[in-house]
């Protein structure tokens, strides 16, 4: 409450202003992309925005410590994953958001793969949060197995097994006539 006192020393003000300017630039540049990742991690818009806001707030608190600006995204992804896992651990959040709310504007679907698309999304939604984070980072963010392991603080072997299980679920749950390769050929 006293932080904006007009007598604040110039050096301190400058540092705070510089931090705010840098953070605002990052926010403008990265927010839509981060929201998309948050949505895929959480599965609903409201929770995604909540997770993103909290994660950005934590990033803001730590901003002066993230010296390597190239690693900010990785740092924030880690916070988002932890925050989402934390939300999942709290039962009230699950109860609060039992109904999925899709992003504004219906997701784009190609006609030929509607069934497969729904099945894919169902599988993603049914994954436990940590496994889901692996899938999102690996297949949406296109991180390598090593990068995914690094963000999540798990081994590369765990990343591989989680991905393998998710793909295995897809193979089992998607009807055979909707398996990749068949739709395009018909």
């Amino acid at each position: 409450m006293q932080m904006h006192h007009p007598a604040a020393p110039a050096a301190r003000r400058t540092k705070a202003e510089r931090r705010d300017a840098e953070f605002t630039a990052y926010l403008h540049a990265r927010q839509p992309s981060l929201l998309r990742t948050a949505y895929l991690l959480t599965g609903d818009r409201q929770t995604a925005e909540d997770v993103l806001q909290t994660s950005l707030a934590k990033l803001y608190l730590a901003w002066d410590r993230v010296r390597d600006r190239d690693s900010v995204d990785a740092y924030l992804r880690r916070i988002m994953v932890n925050e989402n896992n934390s939300l999942w651990r709290r039962g009230w959040k699950r109860r609060e958001h039992v109904t999925e709310v899709l992003p504004e504007g219906a997701p784009h679907h190609d006609e030929y793969d509607e069934g497969r698309s729904a099945a894919l999304w169902d599988v993603v939604r049914s994954l436990p949060p940590k496994a889901r984070a692996v899938v999102v980072l690996r297949y949406y963010e296109q991180l390598s197995e090593a990068e995914t392991a690094d963000v999540l603080g798990i081994s590369v072997g765990t990343v591989k097994s989680q991905c393998s299980r998710a793909i295995g679920s897809l193979r089992e749950r998607v009807p055979a006539d909707l398996h990749p390769g068949r739709g395009e050929d018909s």
Binding site: Q2, M3, H5, A7, A8, P9, A11, R12, T24, L27, H28, Q31, P32, L35, R36, Y39, L40, E49, Q53, T54, L56, A57, K58, Y60, L61, A62, D64, R65, R78, I79, N82, R89, R90, P103, E104, G105, P107, H108, H109, D110, R116, S117, L120, W121, V124, V135, Y139, Y140, G153, S161, C163, S164, R165, I167, G168, L170, R171, H179, P180, G181
Partner: protein, 419 residues
């Protein structure tokens, strides 16, 4: 269990990536601005500060209001407590919940307890999803009925401090039995301060009542305190019939409003040390570690001996002085400027304020306390994992509680009795 790769896997992986991309293709909004992010950051900081008030983040927070300090040196200090007022000792074996009427936590489903560990000589909390496991100094473990930020094993009940998602603080009196049950909950506006002997805790309720709670005695009220003040530390054996048996050190939440003060037999307005703004720690003898001055990028203070006419053991602007070792021969210091996450370094200081040993981590030092006269225990986030280490005056380090993953904002361990 390893799953063999299927020849179709690359197709599925590609399909998965495409599907995820399709799901969010139309999501372009950017609804958050700097203001909303900072609002949430303030909430997080408030909650964390409430959880460790008097501890490490309070050390960080002391930097913030420096501008007002510079411009309002003569702020009204006001009378806090009537000097004639004596603490009323009303032992209440079954304390009435009339002070506040908060809802006690519902015990979570019992989970499998960690095995008892070695006697570490200090107690710490291990944080589970919805509860905390208290590892006592002798190595025994007990699952508490909620997730706590601090706890004390009194002679009889366990008392725990917790904060909810909005940063509201509560002190629970947890009775024995199986399962443990919360018999009384106080809504508080200060963190819980534990006396050096670990048998008494003190706190300020949201109704501004200063309460001491001692095992075997129960609740003892010091009456109302100024809404602007909070508790810095407490000493004494918990027998508040004796004037020095319950001895609180109070300070203004906004220290520009006045100096810290102690309540003892000489009256409530006695300064614990000349010009003290904050009392970081108080020992059962006469030593107090304090902050006396704040500049833009540093603090000054030191270790003060209140015995007799009082004297400075040392004063320093090189470190913030905090926990006092059992014999008083050493203190724990931090850097004089600490940013929002808390300190990254700690220093073991001698009676001249010189550094005997120090440790710097790449994350944050969340908690630190003396185990004995020569070793401190610290909860640290280093190399991307949390652990509790012991660190000796000779610079030797030992991992006492192995690392746990997590982000640097959410320590899975809390050393008790920090406030």
């Amino acid at each position: 269990m390893k799953t063999p790769e299927h020849p179709d896997d690359p197709h599925w992986e590609s399909e998965m990536g495409d599907e995820l991309e399709r799901r969010v293709r139309d999501l372009h909004e950017a609804t958050l601005d700097l203001g909303s992010v900072k609002d949430r950051a303030r909430t997080i900081r408030t909650k964390r500060r409430a959880a460790v008030a008097g501890g490490l983040l309070a050390a960080a927070a002391v930097i913030v209001p420096v501008a007002v300090l510079a411009t309002s040196p003569d702020a009204d200090r006001g009378t806090v407590i009537d000097p004639a007022q004596t603490p009323s000792q009303e032992p209440t074996p079954e304390p009435s919940p009339t002070i506040t009427d908060p809802v006690p936590p519902e015990p979570p489903e019992p989970s499998e307890l960690p095995a008892p560990g070695p006697a570490l000589g200090f107690a710490y909390l291990e944080q589970l999803d919805e509860a905390s496991v208290l590892h006592t100094a002798d190595g025994s473990v007990v699952e508490l009925p909620a997730r706590y930020d601090d706890a004390a094993v009194l002679a009889g009940p366990i008392v725990g401090y917790r904060a909810d998602d909005e940063g509201n603080g509560f002190v629970d009196v947890i009775d024995g039995g199986s399962p443990l049950t919360v018999s009384t909950t106080y809504a508080v506006r200060s963190a819980m301060s534990t006396t050096p002997d670990g048998r008494t805790v003190a706190f300020v309720t949201v109704d501004d009542e200063l309460i001491f709670y001692t095992g075997g005695i129960g609740e003892q009220s010091f009456g109302e305190v100024d809404p602007a003040v909070t508790l810095g530390a407490a000493i004494g054996d918990g027998d508040c019939v004796l004037e020095t048996g319950c001895h609180p050190f109070l300070e203004y939440s906004d220290f520009t409003e006045g100096d810290a003060f102690e309540i003892n037999y000489e009256g409530p307005q006695t300064a614990p040390a000349p010009g003290a703004l904050r009392v970081n720690d108080a020992a059962d003898g006469f030593l107090v570690s304090v902050i006396t001055q704040v500049t833009d990028d540093s603090t000054c203070g030191g270790l003060y001996d209140r015995e007799g006419g009082g004297r400075w053991v040392f004063e320093t602007c090189d470190h913030q002085v905090h926990a006092i070792s059992p014999s008083g021969a050493h203190t724990i210091g931090f850097d004089t400027y600490v940013d929002g996450l808390g300190p990254r370094s700690f220093y073991l200081l001698d009676t001249e304020g010189a550094v005997v040993a120090s440790r710097t981590v790449d994350g944050v030092v969340a908690d630190i306390a003396w185990i004995d006269d020569t070793h401190a225990a610290a909860t640290v986030y280093d190399d991307r994992s949390w652990s509790i280490i012991s660190f000796g005056l000779d610079g030797t380090e030992e991992v006492l509680v192995e690392g746990a993953a997590g982000d640097e904002l959410s320590p899975p361990y809390r050393i008790t009795g920090q406030s």
